[in-house]
Amino acid sequence: MIIDINFIGLIIASIMASAVPLILASCGELITERSGVLNLGVEGMMIIGAISGFALMTVTGSLIIAIFGAMLAGVLISTIFAFLTQTLITNHVATGLALTIFGIGISAMIGKNFVGIPGKEFPVLFENLKDTIPLIGPILFGHSIVFYFAFALPFMTNYFLKKTKIGLIVRAVGDSPVSASNQGIKVRLVRYLCILYGGAMSGLAGAYLSMIYTPQWIENMTGGRGWIALALVVFSTWNPIKILIGAMIFGGLTIIQFHMQAIGVRIPVQFLTALPYIVTIIVLVVISRDSRKIRLSTPSSLGKSFHKDN
């Protein structure tokens, strides 16, 4: 059997494409969690981004408005979460769950009129370079701008957290809110901003799904990716570079399932679909077994509310 080398390139490219929403949402959530806030509403913010992007694209016809509109929608919906957890000091877990349930409901409500409408073609960059280099060409070229942004994001996030002053402040707020507050840092303001940023990235991840990856609106189309994104943050032990690796593994599992069906491997399709979820559990077990390592890398105040009077 001769395997076309460009075919392998295309498979790798498709794995990368399916990793994009996971990278975006995980990197956003990572910043949120680094500031000490656990937002379980990623799935809800993502689906809101998906419908907002698709709806704005259909109504305005502008891809730029749609992409930024989806991010803004993510910001708006995460404002509810920020207000509740930061100003009204509610429980992070319960509030995040409410956000997800609410988001799925609202998105289906808005999306009612957009079911079955075909999407638009999203422009890709460097299309002409795709065939110039075998194997590498299809991997590197011919993707959307969001794709390139997603693969740059983990490195930018890493730089932000480690090398910039604001990144240091975010980490300080997450690791020791009391001392940060004593240093004059406005803890709740920092957390507000980190939550809104997480919302924007989840919104973008959703828009990527509904506008670029599978350009159409389907109810519940995020299909648990938001939850996998949350698991990826734990998987990465809050290190953005490792998110990249994790997202590629999960993207790979999704893509391999299609190809195994195509070459007629006799495994029930449901088992293959369940694989990413099962692997997530196994990976979480392996990572979490070393409780010392988890404790060292987890932001110490993660999920705990901060109030000046405390």
Partner: protein, 354 residues
């Protein structure tokens, strides 16, 4: 001028008042959403919350939907009280339904009084088995139970899908994704002629009574309460933390499994793909709205069950999408959490003189 003052002690009166306030605020916000969508708010709310339960049939449907919600929420309250975040009740429900459905199929076209108890027990065991996975992983491998229990929801639905499409599908079923109908001996008896409400409601009521007894009259209930307040204190008092984690997960898994049994041996009568409209997730809201108190959970399950019925009625009569139900459910939880602020803080009006 308004001034916010911290209370010396959380107010007990407010503790039971805020769920009512949350429901009221949800209605106001819901009316506003209907208005924005171009419906008459009062008419829409009437179709949503009053029309569905205005007759005998509607009331039976309300109890039918409230039964699984109440049962699961009671189970979850064991977990939540002791600071264990089991959010995969939907998976435990599904797996319980799979196991009990499998047993019910073994008794295909057989009769006997012993069949139903075995089927019910199988469902509880199925739910417990499935809940034991996140519990064991949490206690022995330090794994986050939120993510594990949630991932298992997707897995359970895929197992169900595989079974009803493949090995368990009805041989005479024209390839529909469903199993054979269970025999009458494997079905929960109906309580009234012509209504769908079935004997499963007694399971829910039994769970309410038992949980009340455990919470307020046993040492275990006390231990759970202490662990919920502070894990450190629980450790200091020498409670066996690991045992308790596994126990509360098993209890809540059993309840979710029983809710699954109630659905498939009650109104459905077979296994197919959609055995639960996310009861397992909605029950989380019910547990909180009921303040993790058995009696509160009864009321909360009735209130939240209306959102299911209302969504269906509103869809038929006003073409309002049925997902409005979820919007309402999310809002109830938002408002409930938000109004908890009043538990710890007082709002004082100072210098308001005309």
């Amino acid at each position: 001028m308004i001034k916010i003052v911290k209370r010396d002690q959380p107010s007990r009166a407010i503790f039971f008042f805020t769920p009512v306030l949350a429901i009221f605020l949800t209605l106001v916000a819901g009316g506003l959403i209907f208005f924005i969508l171009g419906f008459k708010p009062f008419e829409a709310l009437k179709f949503f919350f009053i029309v569905p339960i205005a007759d005998k049939y509607g009331f039976s449907e309300l109890l039918l939907k409230a039964t699984p919600l109440c049962l699961i929420a009671i189970g979850l309250s064991f977990c939540f009280k002791s600071n264990n975040w089991n959010i995969g009740a939907e998976g435990q429900l599904t797996f319980g339904a799979i196991v009990s459905g499998g047993v019910a199929l073994l008794f295909y076209e057989q009769e006997g009084f012993y069949i139903l108890p075995i089927v019910i027990l199988a469902g509880a065991i199925g739910g417990m088995l499935y809940a034991s996975i996140p519990a064991i992983l949490k206690t022995y491998f330090n794994t986050n139970e939120i993510l594990v229990s949630l991932m298992l929801v997707y897995v359970s639905k895929l197992i169900l899908d595989y079974l009803v499409v493949g090995p368990w599908s009805n041989p005479e079923g024209f390839n529909f994704p469903e199993t054979r109908q269970f025999s009458d001996s494997a079905k929960l008896p109906l309580l009234f002629e012509g209504l769908r409400i079935h004997a499963g409601i007694f399971l829910a009521l039994a769970a309410v009574v038992i949980s009340w007894f455990v919470f307020y009259k046993t040492y275990l209930g006390f231990q759970m309460k202490v662990s919920g307040f502070s894990l450190k204190t629980a450790k200091y008092a020498g409670y066996k933390g690991k045992k308790m984690i596994i126990l509360v997960f098993l209890i809540s898994g059993a309840c979710a499994g029983l809710a699954g049994v109630g659905e498939i041996t009650g109104p459905i009568g077979q296994l197919h793909r959609e055995i639960s409209p996310d009861y397992g997730f909605t029950a989380i809201i019910v547990a909180f709205l009921g303040r993790l108190h058995p009696v509160g959970i009864i009321f909360a399950s009735l209130v939240v069950a209306i959102t299911y019925l209302g969504a269906e009625t509103a869809q038929i009569f006003m073409q309002i999408p049925k997902y409005t139900g979820q919007v309402f459910q999310g809002m109830i939880l938002f408002f409930l959490l938000a109004s908890d602020y009043l538990l710890f803080f007082k709002i004082k009006f100072i210098g308001l003189k005309k």
